[in-house]
Amino acid sequence: MRKFRDIYEKIIVGVLFSSSTITSLTVILIIVFLFKEGIGLFNHAVVDDNHVIAISSQNPVKDLTADKLAKIFNQDYATWQELGGTKDSVKILTTSTLMSIYTEEQLGANGENIPSKVNEYVKAHPGAILFMSKSFLPADFAGREIAVDKISLKKFLTGTHWYPTSSPIPQFGIWAIIMGTLMVTLGAILFAIPLGMATAIYLSEIASMRLRNIVKPIVELLAGIPSVVYGFFGLIVVVPLIQKGFNLDVGETILAGSIILGIMALPTIITVAEDALRTTPRALKEASLALGASEWQTLRKVVIPYAKSGISTAIILGIGRAIGETMAVLMVTGNSSNIPTSFLQPARTIPATIAAELGEAPYGGLHFKALFALAVILFLFTIIINLTVEVIKNKARKQSA
C-alpha cells in the first residue's frame, strides 16, 4: 500500500515537472526563434544570390550605397552627373525592359541571345545600370558588378523609409514605425491615465459598495471584448468623429488609435490601481481622519503615497497593453509609414506592420526577416516594461519591510 502511494506521488511530481519544463522550453524556443529570424536580416545580402546589379565599366561612379541605388532604380536621377559621374543619362535595364527593347526573335526562342544583347546594350549605353539574373550576363561582360551593402542595425533602426517590397533594393528603415508606435502609445496613456486613475479612486474611496459591485465587473468586462470589436467601433464611430471634428481629409489618425487603445488599457489601469488603493490599511486612513484631515487630504497624503508602487505598476501595465495591441490599431490608424509629427496624422505601429505584412512576405525572404526583426524590437520594448514593473515592485517591497 505504502509502495503504491510512493509511486503515485513520484508520477505526480514527474507530471508537474514535465509540464513546467515544456512550458519554459516553449517560451525559450519562441524567443530563440524570434531572435534567430530577426538577426538573419543583418547577415543577408539585399539582392539575392542569383541576381546582380551592374554598371558599365566606362562609368566612373563609385560608392554606390544601397540608398543611392534605390533612388536610381526609382528613377530619381536623370543623369549620372548628380552622382559624380558623366553626363550620360541613366538607363535602367532589367529583364522586363530588355523584353521591350529587343524582340523575342532577337533574344532567341530560349533566350540564348540574351547575354550578347545585354553586352551590346551596355557597350552602346555608358549610362546603363542593370539588374537581372546572373545567368543573363555574358562571359565577356563589358561592365562591373556592384556589391550592395548589407543592412546595418543602425540603418534599420534609424532609416526613415520602409519600402520592404521595392525592387531591386528594398528599404527597411523602421524609425517611422517606432515613432508611430511610441506616439500612439503615448497618446493612449495620456488619455487613459487621468480617466483610469479617477475611476480607480472613485471606486475604491468614494463609491458605495453597491455601486462598486456594479461598476467593477463592467470595467473588467471591457477587458474581455475582442480587439477587433474595438477596432470596428473605432472605425465606425471614432474615425468619422475625428475627421469631422478636426476637418481632416482622413480620420484614421494617431488620435483615433490613441483613444481606442486608451479605452482598451483602461480595465488594466483601473483594476490594478483600484486593488492597490484598497490595500491601504484602514487603520492608516482612520489615523489621518482622526487627526482632522479631510477625505481628500487623506487620499492625497496617505492613500495614494501608500499605493504608489501599485499605481505605477498599473500605468506601466497599461502601457504594455497599448504597445502590443495589433488589430484595433491596424484598423484605425491609417498605417502610413511616414514619420508622424502630430496626433492628427496617420501612423503605423510595429504590431500592425507585422500583422498586415507577414502574410505577403515570402517565407525566409528579407521582408520576412525584417518583420521578425521588428518583432524583436517590440519584444525588447515589452521586456523593458516588465522589468520596470519588477524593479518598482522590489523597491516597494524593500520600503515596506
Binding site: M209, A283, E286, A287, S288, A290, L291, G292, A293, S294
Partner: protein, 250 residues
C-alpha cells in the same frame, strides 16, 4: 479642561442594536476605562467621541455626545474641528510610512500650519510629552516604520497630542505591545492625565485597575456599571460586574 458627556445614546448598525440607552459623564483630568467582553460595544462607544463611526455604512445614532456643551452630531458641525478636539490612539501602532517628524507634524499640516519653526517646536513638545523625544531626537528624518512597536505606539500618541486635543481616546493601545512597552505607555497615561481627559478601552483588567480613576463595564450594548475604579473592582454593585471582574465569565 473639557466636559465630555453622553446623553441617551442608542446606536444601530443596520438592524443590530449595538448600544442601548447609555448616558455617561466624564470627569476632566481623569482616566476612564471601558471594560467588557468582546462585542459589548465599548469600542463603538469610544469612537462616537470623534465620529469615527461615521465611516461605517448603515451606522445610525440617537442621542447626544456633548463636548463642552456642544453636541458634536449637530448639523453644521465641522468634522475636522471635532476630530482635532479628540485625539485617538488605535489598537495597533499605525504610524504613516513617513519620517518620524512628518508623522507628528501631519495633523498640523493638514490643518494648514506650515510654519517651520512653529512645527519644530510643537513636534518636539509632543514627542517629549509622549516620552519619545530622547530616543528619536537625532533621527527625526528616519522612517517611522523602523521604530519598535512600543516606540511606534508612543509616536502615535505624540501624533495625536500634536494637534492639541482636549480628550484622548485610546482603543486598546497596549494590546499589541510587549510588557515593557506596555508599562511605558501606562506610565505615560498617568503623566498625560494631568493635562488631558483620557478614555481608554481595554481588555486587560489589571491595566484598568492600575491606571484608571473610573471604570465602566459594558455588556451586550448596555452600560452595566460605571463608578470609581476601586469601587468597581473591590465592591461592585451588580452581580454581572462581579462575575466579570472575578473571571467567572468573559
Amino acid at each position: 479642561m473639557i466636559q465630555a458627556e453622553a446623553k441617551n445614546i442608542n446606536v444601530w448598525y443596520g438592524g443590530f442594536h449595538a448600544l442601548k440607552n447609555i448616558s455617561m459623564n466624564f470627569n476632566p483630568n481623569t482616566v476612564t476605562a471601558f471594560i467588557g467582553p468582546s462585542g459589548c460595544g465599548k469600542s463603538t462607544f469610544l469612537r462616537l467621541f470623534n465620529r469615527m463611526n461615521d465611516l461605517i455604512p448603515n451606522f445610525r445614532l440617537e442621542g447626544e455626545i456633548l463636548l463642552n456643551g456642544q453636541n458634536i452630531y449637530d448639523k453644521g458641525v465641522r468634522l475636522d474641528e471635532i476630530r482635532k478636539q479628540a485625539g485617538m490612539v488605535f489598537q495597533k501602532p499605525n504610524p504613516f510610512p513617513k519620517s518620524i517628524y512628518d508623522n507628528v507634524a501631519y495633523g498640523l499640516r493638514v490643518n494648514g500650519n506650515n510654519n517651520k519653526t512653529e512645527l519644530d517646536g510643537i513636534v518636539e513638545n509632543a514627542l517629549r510629552q509622549a516620552a519619545l523625544w530622547d530616543e528619536v531626537k537625532d533621527v527625526l528624518k528616519k522612517s517611522a516604520m523602523e521604530l519598535s512597536g512600543g516606540q511606534q505606539q508612543r509616536l502615535c500618541i505624540a501624533r495625536a497630542l500634536a494637534v492639541q486635543p482636549q480628550l484622548i481616546l485610546m482603543d486598546e493601545p497596549a494590546s499589541a505591545l510587549d510588557p515593557i512597552s506596555t508599562a511605558r505607555v501606562e506610565e505615560l497615561m498617568l503623566e498625560l492625565k494631568k493635562n488631558y481627559t483620557i478614555i481608554i478601552v481595554t481588555h486587560n483588567l489589571q491595566q484598568a485597575g492600575r491606571i484608571s480613576d473610573y471604570t465602566a463595564f459594558f455588556y451586550l450594548g448596555e452600560l452595566v456599571e460605571y463608578n470609581a475604579t476601586e469601587k468597581i473592582f473591590l465592591n461592585p454593585e451588580k452581580e454581572r460586574t462581579q462575575n466579570y471582574i472575578t473571571g467567572r465569565f468573559g
